[in-house]
């Protein structure tokens, strides 16, 4: 008999609760369980048995979810090579959440993880809970009250977690797995976020971010120190070995090698991740004389107000909205005008001006844009999504289409989940057209539709990209056709020009759009800059020039960012580094 175990064999722990149970039942003479259930119990344990250290189990447990190859590869790598501590740094839209879900599921199945903390921005808490449930069959709790922390799998916002009294509770726990979404908020060592994460006790840890480095290589060092202090050496070693300047790397290959041990970054255009093309068609329109009159009327009204206010931009926001709405539909303008006049004193002279504008609106009989849209939809004779910024325009279009025998379904942010899903089903089913005011948020995955019409344009490029991203995403089989409606001689024409010619955002996916914008907006937000130009320029010519110069500076930032990705010698080889 071999009783003496060798010293280097792993220690064996026995859970003897079975013995106590059997002993107790023998003492009492029962109760005894059924042989059938006894056999079933062994059968299901056998079926769920993890027979191999390195074979992914989770895919067998998931139905209705078909992860893409790069997502399974990433999960496998994190599990079996990185040993559960990793930065998932895929570009936006490649499914970091799916990857994290696969890893979590695998650990749960293997019984290596029970207690899980998922920290995300407050706005994403419910989305995470829903996705874990619907895609992975994982029941997670959205943190609401102090006792929520007792649940095994909790999703909470970082801002809540790091504050008292929650902080103390969390730091007193041991988490088998901690997942942080939008982890670039952990880049600065001095922040409470960072200090909190440093103290949190965790076995495995996943940090999700599309932008692991935004400004400074130290950010990367800090992130990795949260996962595996020492992976890049000590702070001093790291600076000496790898850093030339904030954004410039040396010994790149070596650093790449070290990074590859803790970070995975899939990028669009890598191998299988080829996206289909974006085909853009700008549709210039000529306003009818009545519509043009309204546009001019609104423009001069706003400028007058701006001058009267002494150039105070912040008080002008609702008026600027008016200027944007006038490019969309008369209905949108009308609603805002009525609301404006309600706020004014009954004897205010501005009221009269507003009523004059309302009369101009009443004179308008046609809607050039709606007519054109109808024509486009009839022409393409396929599914199409129409985006507008305004609720009033959405209503108008729904009616307009209905009157002409075209059924369309609405989609907006204010709808509850069930209604959104229903609208989505209708669009997937019988409806040819969906009219949406919201492009952000989850659930609008329209890869079955390849046409989109921008009825009007947001002035924030990120929102434009969000719109396109609903249709132009992984899984889209066809080239995507984007129609931009733009009315000649209006501000819209300039905006389109800026977005299309300068950022070229319709045709190529700019992975680093957020980086470009962040750098540009260090001074002012792009939208604000546009407002200012619009309100202050004396003539159309001046307006054109101003927008032009705005475009120039955006363009030069873009070139900077791109060249940072292209060249190793020049300043800033970060993108290259991360691309590895």
């Amino acid at each position: 008999m071999n009783t003496q175990r060798e010293a280097d064999l792993p220690k064996v722990e026995f859970d003897r609760s079975w013995y106590n149970q059997l002993d107790t039942r023998l003492g009492k003479g029962g109760p005894w369980d059924s042989w059938d259930l006894f056999s079933l119990a062994i059968q299901s344990e056998e079926a769920a048995l993890v027979t191999d250290f390195e074979e992914m189990q989770c895919l067998k447990h998931l139905h209705g979810l078909e992860p893409l190859p790069h997502q399974t590869d990433t999960a496998r790598k994190v599990l079996f090579e990185m040993r559960g501590r990793a930065i998932l740094a895929d570009e936006v839209g490649l499914g970091k959440t799916i990857e994290a879900g696969l890893i979590l599921k695998e650990y749960l199945i293997r019984g290596l993880v029970r207690k899980v903390l998922i920290l995300v921005p407050a706005s994403l808490v419910l989305q995470w809970v829903r996705e874990l449930n619907s895609k992975f069959g994982i029941t997670a709790t959205a943190q609401k009250k102090a006792h929520s922390w007792q649940s095994d799998i909790v999703v909470a916002s970082m801002d809540t977690a790091k504050r008292d009294p929650h902080k103390e509770i969390l730091l007193g726990q041991e988490y088998d797995l901690v997942i942080v979404d939008e982890a670039h908020k952990l880049k600065n060592k001095k922040t409470t976020n960072y200090q909190f994460m440093l103290k949190l006790r965790k076995k495995y840890c996943l940090l999700l971010t599309a932008t692991p480095v935004q400004n400074d290589l130290d950010e990367l060092f800090n992130l990795i120190t949260l996962l595996k202090p020492g992976q890049l050496g000590r702070q001093g070693d790291f600076s000496a070995n790898f850093v030339v300047d904030k954004r410039v790397v040396k010994n790149e290959d070596q650093l790449k090698g070290e990074l590859a041990k803790v970070m995975i970054r899939n990028r669009r255009g890598d191998g299988q991740l080829n996206f289909t093309k974006r085909i853009v068609r700008n549709v210039p329109l000529q306003l009818s004389p009545e519509e043009q009159a309204l546009y001019d009327g609104v423009t001069s009204f706003i400028k007058g107000q701006y001058q009267a206010s002494g150039g105070n931009l912040s008080s002008m926001l609702s008026l600027v909205t008016l200027q944007r709405e006038v490019c969309s539909s008369r209905d949108a303008v009308f609603v805002t005008l009525v609301n404006l006049s309600k706020k004014l004193a009954p004897d205010s002279p501005v009221r009269d001006q507003i009523w004059e504008l309302v009369h101009v609106i009443k004179a308008i009989k046609e809607n050039t844009k709606a007519e054109k849209t109808m024509e486009l939809i009839r022409e393409m004779n396929e599914k199409v999504i129409v985006f507008t910024e305004y609720r009033a325009t959405q209503e108008y279009l729904l009616n307009y289409f209905r009157d002409r025998g075209l059924s369309a379904v609405p989609y907006r942010g204010g709808m509850n989940r069930g209604k959104k899903d229903w609208m989505m089903d209708l669009f997937r089913g019988k409806s040819q057209v969906m009219i949406a005011t919201e492009a952000g948020g989850e659930g609008i995955n329209l890869q079955f539709c390849r046409n989109m019409i921008n009825f009007d344009l947001p002035w924030n490029p990120m929102r434009v990209e969000q719109r396109i991203g609903r249709v132009h995403r992984l899984g889209q089989q066809n080239d995507v056709r984007i129609y931009n409606l733009s009315t000649n001689g209006t501000i819209e024409e300039h905006i389109l020009n800026l977005l299309h010619e300068k950022i070229n955002m319709f045709e190529t996916v700019i992975g680093s759009l957020d980086v470009i914008l962040e750098r540009f907006e260090k001074k002012h937000s792009l939208e604000k800059s546009l407002y200012k130009i619009m309100l202050e320029s004396e003539s159309d010519e001046e307006l054109r020039k101003q927008v032009e110069s705005l475009g120039q500076s955006l363009d030069s930032i873009k070139q900077e960012v791109i060249s940072a990705g292209d060249s190793q010698e020049e300043e800033g080889n970060l993108e290259q580094l991360l691309g590895g």
Partner: protein, 360 residues
């Protein structure tokens, strides 16, 4: 490992039958069932409801489920069924329209014989389906209104990994953890004059988990004879083919035990240990190496930080270092965890040839 749709179906049906659930309808793709109180308590997570029922001694209303094993096949069959029903309804209507009006009053339309639903299916009311299709014509896919109340039958998909199947798995595990059984001797023993002596066995199905930052599992169903002390590491095979019953059969007596339960446990654990030691331990050595590497990495990282002059910084570095070391051990340290799926006492007819000693 995993289970096929057929295995899942057999499993679930066995569970439902064993726990006394009512099977309302079934096909290869689904089963409709009204749960027994026992199964309802295990599966529906309504402790307050059952607490209320027991306190007030009210008649319980258990829940009903439509468990679908193969949604595609099931839906296709349902569709076919509703189409047939629709056709039947139409042909009846048609027949009625063409029927000459008779003075006798009783309209006896010809019964359609051609388009009945396939047998083996319980026919639900076809009205809601017809309604669905009319709405569907206008709105595409329509979400039916949630049907609540006692008559409601909740539809759930039972694929491998689904939460409901997992809950049935755990219910089976809870309900089948400890047994006390006798081999059924069958007709033979009842007619023979000689009483047979049964050997009492302690049988335990162990689960061994080889864990580091990854994990692998093995099942070992081992038995020890409490009368002879013999260990059988293939206890499952020993049980195979024997009918087991909870009651002591007639004309049977039990051999006296020579081992206490505790001694039995020890014998089993020892047998298991020697099995585990024989398993290739390279996984543990590799895990141990990873552990050492990780420890060296942080030793190097914290070396200077631990020598900080500033006491506050030094303290925080010490804390971090200690915590990190602990985390690394937690993550990588190789260990084997042994627990039991279930266990029991089995009284079995002795082997005809006792010389086969399986103990190694």
């Amino acid at each position: 490992m995993t289970m096929t749709t057929e295995q899942i179906r057999d499993y679930v049906l066995t569970y439902l039958q064993t726990t006394g659930c009512q099977i309302l309808d079934q096909s290869p793709y689904h089963v409709t069932t009204k749960l027994s109180p026992e199964a309802d308590k295990e599966l529906t997570g309504r402790p307050f409801y059952w607490g209320f029922i027991e306190r007030t001694q009210t008649e319980p209303e258990t829940m009903s489920f439509l468990f679908v094993f193969d949604p595609e096949q099931y839906d296709a069959a349902e569709l076919l069924k509703s189409e047939n029903a629709e056709q039947e309804r139409r042909s009846k209507l048609h027949a009625q329209l063409n029927q000459p009006v008779r003075s006798s009053g009783a309209v006896s339309g010809p019964q359609s014989e051609s388009s009945g639903p396939p047998s083996g299916w319980v026919q639900p009311a076809s009205a809601p389906q017809a309604e669905d299709s009319i709405l569907g014509r206008y709105f595409g896919v329509v979400r039916p209104l949630p049907n609540v109340g006692p008559g409601r039958i909740q539809r759930e998909h039972l694929h491998f990994g689904s939460p409901r199947l997992n809950s049935i798995f755990s219910a089976a595990k809870r309900g089948g953890s400890c047994v006390y059984l006798f081999e059924d001797p069958g007709q033979r023993q009842r007619v023979t004059l000689f009483p047979a002596a049964y050997e009492p066995w302690l049988g335990v199905c162990f689960k061994a988990e080889f864990a580091c930052d990854m994990k692998r599992e093995e099942l070992h169903f081992i038995g020890v004879s409490l009368s002879s002390g013999r260990v059988d590491i293939h206890f499952r095979e020993r049980l195979e083919g024997r009918e087991l019953t909870p009651r002591l059969p007639e004309n049977i007596h039990i051999e006296p035990t020579s081992l206490s339960l505790d001694q039995g446990r020890e014998a089993l654990e020892q047998a298991l240990m020697s099995r585990l030691d024989a398993v290739d331990s390279s996984w543990a050595i590799e895990a141990h190496n990873r552990l050492q590497e990780e420890l060296e990495l942080i030793d190097a990282y914290y070396k200077d930080l631990l020598l900080e002059e500033d006491p506050e910084k030094k303290l925080s570095a010490q804390e971090q270092y200690g915590a990190r070391r602990q985390e690394i051990r937690w993550q990588y340290e190789p260990r084997i965890l042994v627990s039991a799926i279930n266990c029991g006492i089995f009284h079995l007819r002795p082997d005809p040839l006792r010389q086969i000693d399986r103990y190694r």
